[in-house]
């Protein structure tokens, strides 16, 4: 294992993040604040509570998930697509590193950035509403697993993408709708029965439900199922990456 290379890639990627630290920091703070103004104040004045939780607090886990998932995907996909685009990727191919080390460096950095943003949102949110976290470790576990698994997905997208449009395509057409319809802003029990059933096919529901459970001990689906879902998703992404590694798909001419 070439650990020095993994750390070098990780640091090189993090440097990109630190160059735009102010932006990386303020944009989630701003967007979270806006969400609270819009959802917390406007809608929250009509919906007082969901399942006995103040609406403002209820939406926090979903808000964090929304940002973390989008950030993880865009950081990881851009992180690996950019070297392909400007041509520096060939340096990785001619260095004594294997694909696993490349994945660890890029995915590790993307997940770290997403985690950072998740924490910033959590702290910002706690300024607006009273937050108690019932299971801090479970909360952290869900958060970290989400950062990692969606960074893996982003990495796959970045390897697959042949241009910048394709890079945007999957997040825009698949991920954002799934996350918005995944119960970020409502409880599934608020939906008509038929939609409750349909919603259960949305994998993001399990994530948000499990994450919300860690905060409030309140879940749409059993928490074990949530863990299984995120574990299964991580395994799926790792499988795809292993296949890319074996075949050299979209990597070597």
């Amino acid at each position: 294992m070439n650990w020095v290379a993994v750390i070098s890639i990780y640091r090189f990627e993090m440097a990109r993040f630190f160059r735009t630290l102010a932006q990386s920091f303020f944009s989630p703070v701003l967007s979270t604040s806006l969400y609270f103004v819009v959802f917390g104040a406007a809608i929250g004045s009509r919906i007082q509570e969901v399942d006995g939780i103040a609406y403002g607090a209820f939406i926090v886990p979903g808000l964090i998930m929304l940002s973390v998932i989008t950030q993880a995907i865009s950081n990881a996909s851009f992180g690996i697509y950019f070297p392909k685009f400007i041509g520096t990727f060939s340096e990785l191919l001619s260095a004594p590193v294997n694909f696993l080390e490349i994945v660890m460096g890029y995915v590790g950095a993307a997940a770290t950035k997403a985690l950072f943003i998740g924490v910033v949102i959590l702290v910002t949110a706690s300024l607006f509403v009273d937050l108690t976290i019932a299971h801090p470790f479970a909360m952290l576990l869900f958060l970290v697993l989400t950062c990692l698994s969606f960074s893996l997905l982003g990495f796959i997208i970045g390897i697959w993408a042949g241009n910048f449009e394709q890079l945007q395509l999957v997040p825009l057409l698949v991920v954002t709708p799934l996350v918005f319809l995944g119960g970020s802003f409502y409880s599934i029990s608020m939906l008509p029965p038929i939609w409750q059933t349909i919603t259960l096919f949305n994998p993001v529901v399990y994530l948000i439900s499990g994450f919300r459970w860690a905060f409030f001990e309140n879940a749409d689906v059993p928490v074990g199922l949530s863990l299984l879902a995120i574990g299964g998703f991580t395994a799926f992404c790792l499988g795809v990456i292993w296949w890319i590694f074996k075949t050299g798909w979209r990597i070597r001419a």
């Binding site: 070439n2 290379a5 070098s8 090189f12 400007i86 041509g87 520096t88 001619s94 004594p96 590193v97």
Partner: protein, 309 residues
């Protein structure tokens, strides 16, 4: 001496079906400078990219320092530094971080003194903290060289290092190359500039259409294939080649002041004695006589032309 790099029957067919390498076999000895000459599209970059692991071979084997480049790729690649033909650098990063990254990829611990020394040799030290995008084209090429040297390679590939490069950088570059050769580094370079190959290479390989036409010691190549020219300078100018000398295929040069005779050094008889006799018999007075050896360029052009249908 043992070969440090050995390529056997290497073939590469690109995804589109284009056969860029048609079975190249090449042994490179430790410490030598080999110049690969060939026209655009000959397969020089493909050959280098395949050896370095950027392109996967379709057939054949590559051994670097005794390590199979496919199986034992870590050991093989650790020995190699590559200065690619195209300038690909991360624009927002600094020179220093860029070369530290390269060293790190090779699994080596940070060594600021060594890296600063590399920058100094390439006159880049004052640009250490500049961002890549602030550098001129020539400076960027220096950064590429610094990246390749960042992990002290035993084999250095320079793919068209002097294409579009100013005189000063060329000079610096050949100094670095000379120094590396003195340190025992093996150097393989591709170039369009034949005079460069002629000046610094120990051996010359000629590649065209994905095939290696020859690899030969530069001096013996020039001796073997060299055309020599004999220039006979006349004390009085003539209007045309005299009829008595018409069977020699002479050329008139310098406003009729000289006759140029081309001959092959490989020929049993060069015909020089007879020519000089006949010149005197034709009543011409010799002012001076000089010979000129043809350059690698002439040899190269001759070879490549001969190969084409």
């Amino acid at each position: 001496m043992a070969a440090i790099l050995s390529v056997k029957d290497l073939k590469k067919t690109y995804a589109g079906g284009f056969e860029a390498l048609k079975g190249v076999t090449l042994d490179i000895e430790e410490g030598e400078i080999l110049a690969l000459l060939g026209p655009n599209g000959a397969g020089k970059t493909t050959l280098i990219s395949t050896v370095c692991g950027i392109v996967s071979p379709s057939a054949g084997s590559i051994t670097v320092g005794g390590h199979d480049a496919q199986v034992d790729y870590r050991a093989a690649r650790s020995l190699i530094g590559l200065v690619p033909q195209e300038i690909h650098l991360e624009p927002f990063e600094t020179v220093w971080n860029t070369i530290r990254f390269s060293r790190g990829l090779f699994g080596l611990r940070r060594d600021d003194a060594y890296l600063e020394d590399v920058l100094r040799k390439l006159s880049l030290l004052d640009k250490k903290n500049s961002r890549i995008m602030e550098l001129s084209g020539g400076m960027k090429r220096r950064v590429l060289i610094a990246k390749a040297l960042s992990h002290s390679p035993r084999i250095l590939f320079l793919d068209e290092p002097t294409a579009g490069v100013d005189v000063e950088l060329r000079k610096d570059m050949w100094e670095v190359v000379a120094q590396m050769k003195a340190d025992g580094v093996t150097i393989i370079l591709t170039t369009h500039y034949i005079e460069e190959a002629e000046a610094i290479a120990d051996r010359v390989g000629v590649i065209t259409g994905g095939e290696l036409l020859l690899v030969e010691d530069k001096d013996s190549l020039m001796a073997r294939m060299g055309q020599k020219q004999l220039e006979v300078q006349l004390s009085t100018a003539v209007d045309a080649v005299p009829a008595a000398l018409s069977h020699y295929s002479l050329q008139l040069a310098k406003d009729g002041n000289a006759l140029v005779y081309s001959y092959d050094t490989r020929a049993d008889r060069t015909g020089i004695t007879a020519l000089l006799n006949d010149v005197a018999e034709a009543g011409l007075v010799l002012a001076d006589v000089q010979t000129r050896q043809s350059s690698l360029e002439d040899i190269f052009v001759g070879l490549v032309k001969g190969d084409q249908p």
